[in-house]
């Protein structure tokens, strides 16, 4: 149970970090496309700002989404255990894509997260859910070859 909790926590934190950096790059890319010069220190300061301010909001979206997605993935892995890792990866990705769509339909603005305005941004941001699925299953049920020692029987 503790292992599961830690794996889940790592999945949320990992996806939050990666997703935040992705959305920052999309926002800054839109500005550079408008001929705005952004030096490295400004870029890093923006990433740090977004980790502190956007990160918690994204984690708030990720947590319930991954909880539901991983329960579904667990059920599917019971049916087809051979594909457990894939179910968690797919579950995280599809779950987050659905969550974005639900949030956008409920929020007053058409698209809550600016990076999701383009298809590429939407796919990459959703992929952070898949990354979370990989982290979770990797830590919760590591495959034998992923461990230095053998799994307890």
């Amino acid at each position: 149970m503790v292992r599961m909790f830690i794996a889940f926590l790592c999945a949320v934190i990992g996806a939050t970090l990666v997703g935040t950096v992705i959305q920052t790059q999309f926002n800054l890319a839109e500005l550079t496309a408008l001929s705005v010069d952004i030096d490295m220190s400004t870029r890093m300061a923006t990433i740090l700002h977004d980790l502190l301010h956007f990160g918690p909001v994204f984690a708030l979206i990720l947590t319930p989404t991954l909880l539901i997605a991983f329960i579904v993935a667990r059920v599917l892995s019971h049916l087809m255990p051979k594909f457990e890792r894939a179910w968690f990866i797919i579950g995280g990705g599809v779950g987050l894509a659905c969550a974005f769509s639900i949030v956008d339909s409920l929020a007053p603005m058409p698209t809550l997260i600016a990076a999701n305005r383009t298809l590429l941004g939407f796919l990459l941001m959703s992929a952070t859910g898949a990354f979370a699925g990989w982290i979770f299953d990797r830590l919760w049920h590591p495959q034998p070859q992923e461990l230095a020692e053998e799994l307890p029987q």
Binding site: A45, P56, P110, L112, A114
Partner: protein, 357 residues
Amino acid sequence: MKQFIISLCLVLSTTSAALAGTARTEVVANNLNFPWSVAELPEGGFLVTERSGQLVFVSQTGDKHHVEIDLPDLYATAQAGLFEVMLTPDFMTSRELVLSYSCGTEKANNTCVIRAKLSLQPPYSLLDTQNIFTALPKKEGAAHYGARMTWLPDDTLLIALGDGFVYREQAQKLDNHLGKIVRITRNGEVPEDNPFTHSKAPEIFSYGHRNVQGLIYDSERDAIWQHEHGPKGGDELNKIVKGGNYGWPIATFGIDYTGAKVSPFRELPGIKPPLYQWTPSLAPAGLALYEGDLLVTHLAGKRLQRLRLVDEQWQLEGEYLQDLNARLRAVYVAPSGRILVLTDSAEGQLLQVSFED
């Protein structure tokens, strides 16, 4: 009528605590469905737009009648709908007025402006309706239309437009109307001395705006004052000049609703910085000139602010109407000198405000 008399008898004695005075309000009309703008008629009474699409005549005694209006392409939902009604400078002789509204469909809409003639006497109707401007491109969603308007001394019309929320970068591009203030003649033609000449958007007067909700010409100072909504913080008061770039979204004091930076820059070379800015946002949604001061109503901020120009800087002079606890959609100083305020709700009110300095 009974309701109006009761309301008038009550004469809300809302003496608001303020920085520099108090204000008194009287209810002119009740039960207006999300009223957006008001225009005082020279023969008495008011025209009020309701966002859902009705144009309402309110008599001086508070009686209401719907004005017959034909807008087949009206798109009314969320922030979209019927916006500003404004009389032409020669209304006394021409009986013409302009109306801004969102036109199109959920998938393809933007801000439109029509010019029409008001019939001579009640029950009023609009005649000879003619489209004089359509903001392009038509875009998806029902957010950020701008739609405030003002006349300039040369009888050209300024129309404020929004960025459509998800199209914010378009506010920096001069080939479209998103996030711009445009200038046209009363017939919808492009004045020869407009600053930009792109064939797709020769109407542009200034750019880099997010969602302009206040626009007024100050004849004494020969200045155009404007305010616009920032995202989370960064609501701006600007002095609009021909060809000016006001920065959205490359320079802003606000951040996105998610907490993310829209831009790392608050100021940039070539960008006109705001003369006054509201952080956190109060959502300014109306702008009027009163004895040289600016009156600003706020939606989220639920107050009327009075700003005064001191040493070339706008300073907060007083705050009023906070005890109404109402979102305030608009403020006007009518030709008669009356200060009119609209509250923003399904049971909105038209209020007359007087300061007790």
